[in-house]
């Protein structure tokens, strides 16, 4: 009887060890709180009249007193001094979009850039009319040599939800652009694009421009949620 009791007790201890480790490691990398796109009215689209939602994002080349780094508590991250030089999307990388809606995202880009490996990712893909507005000008793509970042939504491994692929190249700011007190360009690029969401589902987005550290500049912020990648939840 005593033996049986202790056997059960050791199983309980085992469960506690596993549960504690799960809790420790799942809390070990907090991602930024999600932001939801605001519904601002209705819009006419090729698919009829749909609710229209809007979302603003900004890209900064590094954090500074004026722009705090993303609220990521990643215990697996590099040291803080190094991550201050990492570019990031703000205010959040976890986006919530309404289903069956026209979603307009505005990206304000403060970072520099260079050449992208894959010219296909310098083209606009997946938006309503295949184009995006760059500082007020409609374009279907940009020069692959002057890319700053990309905003690329791609598939979640779930065959029952609708396929969604959106790629928006974000142009770079010139190295000689006038800067403000914090070193950010005074006159950042603003990119606006719209796409239509379908049924609710889960998607992933990340930047496809090599803007991180390490081998082919895909380490550091590229390998960590909250900086240059995140989730898109269509609800």
């Amino acid at each position: 009887m005593k033996r049986a009791l202790f056997t059960v007790l050791s199983v309980v201890i085992g469960v506690l060890v596993v549960g504690g480790s799960v809790a420790l490691f799942s809390a070990g990398a907090q991602e930024p709180d999600p932001i939801a796109a605001k519904v601002v009215g209705k819009a006419k689209t090729p698919q009829g009249e749909l609710p229209h939602a809007e979302l603003d994002l900004s890209i900064y080349p590094n954090s500074s007193p004026a722009v705090p780094p993303p609220a990521v508590s990643d215990r697996l991250a590099q040291s803080e001094s190094e991550s201050q030089q990492w570019p990031f999307y703000t205010p959040s990388t976890n986006l919530e979009l309404p289903a069956h809606s026209l979603v307009t995202i505005r990206i304000t880009q403060y970072d520099s850039g260079g050449q992208i490996y894959n010219p296909y990712l310098a083209k606009v893909v997946g938006t309503v009319d295949g184009s995006a507005t760059y500082d007020g000008e409609k374009k279907t793509g940009i020069d692959p040599n002057t890319v700053g970042h990309t905003f690329t939504i791609h598939q979640f491994p779930e065959s029952t939800q609708p396929y969604l692929y959106v790629n928006i190249p974000v142009p770079m700011n010139g190295a000689n652009a006038p800067t403000d007190a914090n070193g950010y360009p005074k006159d950042p690029h603003v990119i606006e694009f719209s796409f239509i969401t379908g049924e609710p589902g889960q998607y992933i987005w990340n930047c496809e421009f090599p803007c991180g550290t390490g081998y082919v500049f895909f380490g550091g912020p590229m390998q960590q949620r909250g900086w240059m990648s995140g989730t898109v939840t269509v609800v």
Partner: protein, 651 residues
Amino acid sequence: MSSATEVMRPEEVPQPKQYGKPGGFLRHTNIITGTVSGIVLAAIAYLVAGALRPPPSDENALALPVGLDPQFAAMYIGWTIGLLLGIGAFDGPLRWFLGHDLTHEDAEYMAGAGQGKWRYFKYTTDHKVVGKQYLVMSLVLLGVGGTLAMMIRTELGITWMEVFNPNVYNSIIGTHGMVMVIAMIIVVSGPIGNFIVPIMIGARDMAFPRLNALSFWLLFAAVPPLVSSLFLGGIRDGWSVYQPLNSQAPVGMLGYQTTIIVFAFSTGIASVNLITTIVTMRARGMTWSRVPIFVYGIIGSSVMGLIWFPMFQYSQILSWSDRVLQSNFFNPAQGGSVWLYENLFWLLGHPEVYVIVIPGTAALMELTTVFVRKPLFSYKLAIAGIFGVVGISGIVWAHHMYMTGFAPSANYPFMLSTELISIPFGFLVLVLLGTIWRGKVWTRLPMMAVYAVVWNKVVGGITGVWLSDVPVDQYMHGSMFVVAHFHFMLMGAALFSAIAAIAYWFPKMTGRYLNERIGSIGFWVAFAGFQLCFGSMFFAGLQGMPRRVLQFDNAFNLSNWLSTIGAYTIGIGTVIFLYAIITSWRGGQTAPMNPWAAQTLEWTVPNPVPLENFKVLPVVTTDPYNYGVPDPYASQVADVGDETSQKVSVS
């Protein structure tokens, strides 16, 4: 030169001078001084490297990509050297250098004479102490790896959300893989190989007792870097850490590389020691045809480890250099090759499977004879099987690389060698079956494990037949099917045989019986969970689920839920078994000298085994398999001319 041949009586042999108390410096070292000195030296190395590191600036462009790697590399080197310094590993060479040779009293102190329980926490050379240290270490590693496995299954069972951030998940699978591989490599060769093999061959200790201690403490030094990497960015690239993904990972990757480099030294030293011991220190009369088959298994495994582990070590030294010294061995943009890494890795990566499986299988053959009370069936075929596997193991590695495209034409010869290795491996199955054949079985826990293991080998065998075929592997490679298959071999066959081996030699190692009721409950619960967990994983793979993913199509949900239930069942069973081991070790029923009535030499020494094992070294006159009675069928078979059955030994 005449004095060299002069026969001296033992007391006339000149003894070196005794400096201070026996043991000298080693009187003051133990695990605590070792750990403290390791941590101190690691901290110093980290700070010095940080001070030497050029500050990142626009002028010094080279300084930036280096990042924190040199600092952490220095830290890990500091830890390893500091631990060995603090534990006293360099004491012997230093004294030899100073001319203070070890006296007999020094050697006895180092073997742990008169030190009570503390000898388990010191640089002790007694092979029995080292064996127990290995046993505890492998159980701890299995516990860590098992906890990580539960975390993986938790993530995959909760199909509707990410429990872990993706790179935390990737770190967990990488660490699970490597921790388990290390645990499995040592789990039989470490405890049983060190504790039992010298007694089994009638020796007083290993050939190189201090190297024996060194091999364990190198392992002890290797483990913390691996676990620490979980908190320094993790091993995000699976246990194989393919290049160049490796170069994008945070500094935790250095922990992995340090671990492999140090562990390879540990394995090499242990292998040399075991091989030398077995070749040179067998008891008088123990010819090669009277050596217990388990000893052959240990030789085979050690030979493979000795030959192939350096390949893995090179791959990690080169990777380490790519990270820390900015070399470009594996950077394709600078002329490096990712295929070079893959080849070096799998040159150990596959023989390692046999390093793990062969000692376990040999242990099963050894204990089957005892529990069926029949001689080993076709002893020579068993030896041929072991060395056949050892021989072919070196030329099958590229079947892990069928789909890498590094040499499409090489797929033909590697498919050939992979399928041929099943022939010597089949010998070992026949030996087991033949030993069981027509015997009335004594159904104790170690014997029942044989049934579990052979069942798992059959499942792993059929699925292995599929995977060895290139076109089928074209579908299966990199899918959950592969994961399920190698868990059937590494866990279902190897870990379950390790459990059998530990249960069988437990009375000799601890002087107590393993509690068989609780142990059996744990064992069979784990076995049932194992079938469910990895059986259903095959079907996830067949459906097309890639491995190392944390989110997947809903179509794979059912098999993953079943797998997770199975995994939790394994977890419960393992904890129960662990409980049986711990309680039996502390307060189990005391065992007699030879509880199984076995005939190998380790059962002829009393419990607890005294220092230097034998008062008088034994002389061996026969092989240890003299069980059984004359075959009642023999006369009938002899009538129709089967000569081999006439060899009936009288016992």
